[in-house]
């Protein structure tokens, strides 16, 4: 798989640690959202919990897939051939992307503050189709090159993430203009950094340094979310 070997192994190891950190932070947010939901029975907190749970699961999948590629001896793969690793990586990436985008869509839907399952499923289906359709086109019409399929998946998912993150950031800015709460602004800034990291990750297909920068930006974003969460529950 061309993509996975574009960056030096040490950076992939660094990436695994980062993904685990992101998964833990997202899981913490999800846990407290469900805890708040249990007390308040407020629908938005449940949806928020679901979205962060999905994001956390997507990072866990990413970490497992990368671990299988970087340390094939640790995670036993039947007949560890390059093709097997490539296939595993491809399926893992697709699963990660679909779950991550589903998390962002749930989050964007939560910020809409509307109560319509139909709208939610409509956005979710459109989001997933936008990921899968280009892959099918690449595989059927063009030469089914593994690298081109993966590049398409990565670029499509990043563009979709940027789109949904823009929407989420806009809503956080709107919320901040109403409540003037600095923690809301911090969360908005965290999503803005996530947007930057997604844009940056597109370039990681060309320059591996962008891969590192993307992770650093994402790390700061999750640090902001963690700070905001800790300040909230400490009070």
């Amino acid at each position: 798989m061309t993509y996975f070997y574009m960056v030096p192994k040490v950076f992939l190891e660094f990436s695994i640690i980062m993904q685990i950190i992101f998964a833990i932070v997202a899981l913490l947010v999800s846990y407290f959202s469900f805890k708040i939901y249990k007390i308040s029975r407020q629908r938005e907190t449940k949806l928020f919990g679901i979205s962060f749970l999905l994001i956390s699961i997507s990072y866990i999948i990413w970490a497992i897939i990368h671990s299988a590629i970087v340390f094939p001896s640790i995670i036993k793969i039947a007949q560890t051939t390059t093709t097997n690793i490539s296939r595993l990586g491809g399926i893992g990436m697709l699963t990660h992307v679909i779950i991550f985008i589903s998390g962002l869509i749930t989050l964007a839907y939560t910020t809409l503050k509307i109560k319509s399952g139909k709208i939610y499923y409509l956005i979710l289906t459109l989001g997933i189709i936008s990921i899968i359709a280009p892959l099918i086109i690449i595989l059927i019409i063009f030469e089914p090159l593994e690298s081109s399929t993966l590049y398409t998946l990565l670029i499509t998912s990043r563009i979709l993430s940027i789109f949904f993150l823009t929407f989420i950031i806009y809503n956080y800015l709107e919320e901040y203009s109403k409540n003037k709460n600095k923690k809301t602004l911090l969360i908005g800034a965290a999503f803005f950094l996530m947007l930057l990291s997604n844009a940056d990750f597109i370039f990681s297909l060309i320059y591996y340094q962008a891969y590192i920068l993307g992770h650093i930006l994402e790390f700061i974003a999750y640090l902001f979310i963690l700070i905001s969460l800790l300040h909230t529950i400490k009070k």
Binding site: I39, F48, T111, G188, I233
Partner: protein, 91 residues
């Protein structure tokens, strides 16, 4: 001018009104104390009944409302709920 109350604040206000009346209150008192229109009050009370924060007691033609354990729990944890929803823009 007073800031518009959030949904969470209104729920807190209604529950406090019920609790302050020793756990039993008539709808007219809730209407008066919670500063809501009749339609809005009905909507909120329905929601609170569904969430099991409030219980309806029907004695002949008289209807009163009382707060449940879940309702009391909401009041005691209100600060945390409010902080969380404000920070994460879920209000």
């Amino acid at each position: 001018m007073n800031k518009k109350r959030s949904r969470l604040e209104i729920i807190k206000d209604i529950l406090e009104v019920i609790r302050n009346k020793n756990g039993r209150i008539k709808p007219t008192h809730i209407l008066y104390k919670s500063n809501l229109s009749y339609g809005m009050m009905e909507e909120y009370l329905d929601e609170l009944i569904k969430k099991e924060f409030v219980k309806v007691n029907q004695i002949q033609k008289n209807k009163t409302y009382s707060i449940t354990e879940k309702g009391n729990n909401y009041l005691s944890q209100y600060k945390l709920i409010s902080e969380f929803t404000n920070s994460f823009g879920l209000n």
